[in-house]
């Protein structure tokens, strides 16, 4: 009778040990995931927002058939003014224009805001916009608009 009782208690202890082992295995799996799973590095939301703003602004100016005119007629002041009224006031910009081979087109500085922010800010956006030509002439230009929030 005593022998049977001690066998039963041994089995009970084994159950507890098994349960503890099972728990430890599951906990180990969770800890493993927690420790080794690197947090996904996503691009900052801010840069994405600025890209959206930049593209929309250029697209709107282009839709009004003004962008090509400004670029090919060298109306740099008008281009700067159009961007100035289109982007939010706390967004600073810097414009560069290149030919299709990436050679810069000579133009005066077209920028707005404190340019220091372009070097200090973590979220700087750059939008490339291709313009094929103007009226009858095909001569592609690439407009690069850099944006940063001030």
């Amino acid at each position: 009778m005593r022998k049977v009782k001690s066998k039963k208690s041994l089995k009970g202890q084994m159950r507890v040990i098994e349960a503890i082992m099972a728990s430890l295995i599951v906990i180990a799996a969770v800890v493993f995931l927690y420790v080794f799973a690197a947090a996904p590095s996503s691009p900052p939301q801010e840069a994405s927002e600025l890209e959206k703003i930049g593209h929309n602004v250029l697209h709107d100016i282009d839709e009004q058939r003004l962008l090509a005119r400004y670029i090919y007629n060298a109306e740099w002041t008008n281009l700067t003014a159009a961007l100035l009224v289109s982007v939010p006031t706390n967004v600073y910009f810097n414009v560069s224009i290149y030919d299709i081979n990436g050679r810069p087109i000579s133009h005066p500085l077209m920028q707005y805001g404190n340019q220091q922010f372009f070097t200090t800010s973590k979220a700087t956006a750059s939008v490339s916009y291709i313009v094929p030509g103007y009226l009858l002439s095909y001569n592609p230009r690439i407009l690069v608009l850099q944006l940063v929030r001030g």
């Binding site: 295995i25 799996a29 995931l33 996904p40 490339s128 009226l135 009858l136």
Partner: protein
């Protein structure tokens, strides 16, 4: 009986192991999915797609503007294909590293669009010297961006300018001819921003006229906004009237009609 109980005990450990494997593998899949989405620069890709699409539309307009300036209607110069081939190369250069690949097919043969029947030849069509005249271009493009696995983005680029002379009347009392016309572009939508300078050539009886005025107003007779070109000092009913119009995009259409006496 003893054996069965021992197996049950092992089963708990095995079940825990299986659960652990499931947790790890499912987490790996979820992690992969989440990070894949977050790593992609969707805004930038959408920007490229939109930019290429807009620029391609603009290119087609430039080509149509060229086509409507030069060449004769039966034998239009096949420049659209050459220019599009060049454009494909330039798009690749403009977005290096993205694997942007643009291909095209030019509209060919008879197609119905903008409420008209257009007969395209190598993507271009025009019908001039009629009361309803037009210049048109049409091509379908396929855009792939290899770096993100975007394939088969199709879009159609259309350019169109139509001039319809609704009526042309010679007024003997005032020695003038009034030409009532509407101008439409792709959409179709009316072109309402033309100025006198957009009416490059105005002819009556095949003689170029410089003494004309232009008005734009809503006409209840024609139930639309119309342009009225009034040519002065026309003492007799002209055999024909002819208008050469170019819009702000540089596209040109020549429309002609036979006027009637009031």
């Amino acid at each position: 009986m003893r054996l069965v109980r021992e197996r049950r005990g092992q089963f708990i450990v095995i079940a825990a192991l299986l659960i652990s494997i499931m947790i790890v593998s499912v987490s790996t899949v979820i992690y992969g999915t989440v990070t894949y989405f977050k790593y992609e620069r969707w805004e930038e890709y959408l920007t490229i797609v939109d930019s290429v699409r807009t620029a391609t539309n603009n290119l087609l307009q430039i080509r149509l503007a060229n086509y409507s300036q030069i060449g004769s209607p039966p034998n239009p110069p096949p420049t659209l294909r050459d220019n599009l081939n060049q454009w494909i190369g330039d798009v690749r250069k403009a977005y290096p590293g993205f694997g942007v690949d643009l291909s095209y097919s030019l509209a060919s043969g008879v197609k119905s669009a903008f409420g008209m029947t257009l007969n395209y030849n190598l993507g271009l069509a025009r019908r001039w010297y009629q009361s309803t005249s037009f210049s048109a271009a049409n091509a379908t493009f396929n855009l792939n961006i290899a770096s993100v696995g975007l394939t088969g983005y199709n879009f159609t680029a259309d350019s169109f300018l139509k001039v319809t002379i609704r009526d042309a009347v010679w007024y003997g009392g005032s020695n003038s001819v009034s030409i009532y016309l509407t101008v439409d572009r792709e959409g179709p939508e009316p072109v309402l921003s033309l100025l006198k300078s957009n009416f490059v050539v105005v002819k009556a009886s095949n003689v170029t006229q410089s003494n004309f005025t232009l008005r734009r107003y809503y006409s209840s007779t024609f139930n639309s906004f119309i342009y009225e070109v009034q040519i002065n000092s026309i003492s007799a009913l002209p055999s024909s009237v002819e208008l050469t119009i170019h819009d702000g995009r540089g596209m040109r259409v020549i429309s002609a009609s036979i006027p009637r006496s009031s």
